[in-house]
Symmetry: C2
Subunit: 342 residues, 2 copies
């Protein structure tokens, strides 16, 4: 009983066959006699052998691992999504390596051609800061699927929801409640590439459809999509005496932060302000008031992204960029207390 872990060589000796035969048994090679197969299996069990993945990796160039790269795990949307991806990957016998970038571009790029590139067969990424060039540069054959964000016109496999439609629906819901001055917390103007811009666009479309004017003053940019940013934005509104009828917050953290800040200043949701968020995180289901939100089908997002990625991985060779896939997953408006009375 040698000190270290048994190697394939030990199994071979124990079973009285060659290393290759052991390898064949392990890899389910067809042409192995039952007798040999049984003998090898016995040896494996007896020695407690398990393949050394480093060796296999070196030889085959594949690891069976995929990376999930997200900005922040403590943003519930991402951790919930991560949980779904991990679950989906497990069903396909893959292991997920989760990376957090903090939305920093250097970490996002390094996830693509940096450290990860060696250890994983592919990457699912929700880019925040990535530039189109980064993606192009990273195109060394490592399969990449964009999840959610698609901050680039660069053609790439992508999975997401219809952000424009979702924002339109949410805004329409607020309008239907009789609200006229609706602020967009986390909104951003400009070409419709980022999620925030797409959603802002949907908001404008809804206004237009209702024949209402668009007021750029009501688009409130934020530094990040955290509770605190929502609270700050709402506080700013309140402090300059400009609390609108309703808030369309581009994620639930912003929404809950805003609700809280307004509450502290004497404005109650939904009586004084209606509030709608995005993402349907668990906190919004149990908050007081509970939060109306756009609920993307996270499980479907995760499944679609994984499926797409595995497809790319198995179709070896260079990615045929012509056949870029764009998958749109369902979402729905979940109406709760924060817009009650609508």
């Amino acid at each position: 009983m040698a000190a270290g872990r048994p190697r394939i060589k030990d199994v071979a000796e124990y079973a009285g066959v060659s290393q290759k035969t052991v390898s064949n048994v392990i890899n389910q090679y067809e042409h192995v006699s039952d007798k040999t197969r049984r003998a090898v299996q016995e040896a494996i069990d007896a020695l407690g052998y398990r393949v050394n993945l480093a060796g296999r990796h070196l030889r085959q160039g594949r690891t069976g691992m995929i990376a999930l790269v997200v900005p922040e795990l403590d943003v519930a949307y991402f951790s919930e999504l991560a949980a779904h991806v991990v679950a989906a990957a497990e069903q396909r016998s893959r292991t997920v390596l989760i990376h957090q970038t903090g939305g920093r571009r250097d970490r996002e790029t390094s996830a693509l051609h940096g450290f990860d590139a060696d250890f994983v067969d592919g990457v699912i990424i929700s880019p925040l800061a990535l530039l189109p060039d980064d993606l192009r540069a990273a195109d060394r054959g490592l399969p990449v699927v964009l999840l959610g964000e698609r901050n680039t016109t660069e053609a790439r496999d992508h999975v997401g929801i219809d952000n424009v439609a979702a924002a339109r629906e949410a805004t329409a819901h607020l309008l239907a409640g009789g609200h006229r001055r609706i602020a967009v917390v986390g909104g951003r103007l400009g070409p419709a590439s980022g999620t925030d811009q797409l959603r802002t666009q949907g908001y404008r479309q809804a206004l237009e459809a209702a024949g209402l004017p668009f007021d750029p003053e009501l688009v409130l940019p934020v530094d990040a999509f955290h509770w605190l940013d929502g609270a700050r934005a709402a506080a700013a509104l309140a402090d300059r005496g400009a609390v609108p009828d309703a808030l369309l917050c581009l994620n639930d953290h912003l929404a809950l932060g805003a609700v809280r800040a307004l509450h502290e200043r004497g404005f109650k949701a939904p009586d004084d302000v209606a509030v709608c968020g995005f993402d349907d995180i668990e906190a919004g289901r149990f908050s007081i008031p509970s939060l109306t939100t756009i609920a993307p089908d996270k499980a479907a997002l995760a499944r679609a992204a994984l499926e797409l990625l595995l497809m790319r991985i198995s179709s070896d060779s260079a990615v045929p960029l012509k056949a870029v896939e764009e998958r749109c997953v369902a979402h729905r408006l979940v109406i709760r207390e924060s817009t009650a009375g609508c």
Copy 2:
């Protein structure tokens, strides 16, 4: 320009030196002349070479990766903790592979001697279902640090807070507010091994110190530590007309779920019931009412766990089980609205 990635051999040829010399430069070996070093560096830059980790892994047996094994990422405490571990690891140039087990024992053990064991140099685990035997069995030299939970008397490196003291303080705070009937949501009786049991013990100590009787009826077990479980427990209390003066919830999710369920039934926190949680997740800072809670120093937990693990990893050979380390990290009671009036 070969199709694939450049290998160390290509760099060596380009620079006109041996492979080993390139390796020496990469690994910062001292005795390399400046001239050679420069030439090699130039070759590396020119070819865009980066080490192939599979090769290094095979040769050295180390990967520079560590695994973080947690029950659920969508439990905010764990995702926030994960974010800290990732950050700490980055400072030490390690990569963190995050695994989610769903609290299932098979996945926890497989993380220890299953798949992970091959790919990582060590594991930080928050076990929920792991049995002492599993840990012992996994002792094949893979360094393991327990984080938070320590559901075993087995001697093991462990990092956590003083759960008994924390629960005692929280309970004392509730008692100081004049509350007498205090329920423990998520509490569990029995030998003080699991976190829940330790906290329940602290609760009892506080009662005892105040000269109050202990009522087992007020210990409410839960299936899991989620919002919904807290809501169910509180609903059950309310529905049988037994809402106590205060709730000590063993995590913030339970607390927020309970607050919500009580709210739906007309009981307001803190006026009708005072509520205190554990973990200090972000949701509790912005909830209405904001949540009083025990705040563990998560950054310190992450740092301590990582430090301990890296120590074990670098002290090669077998783990000297005699020198097991137990690190206790600071916590503090953060008083917010949900126990206002105390």
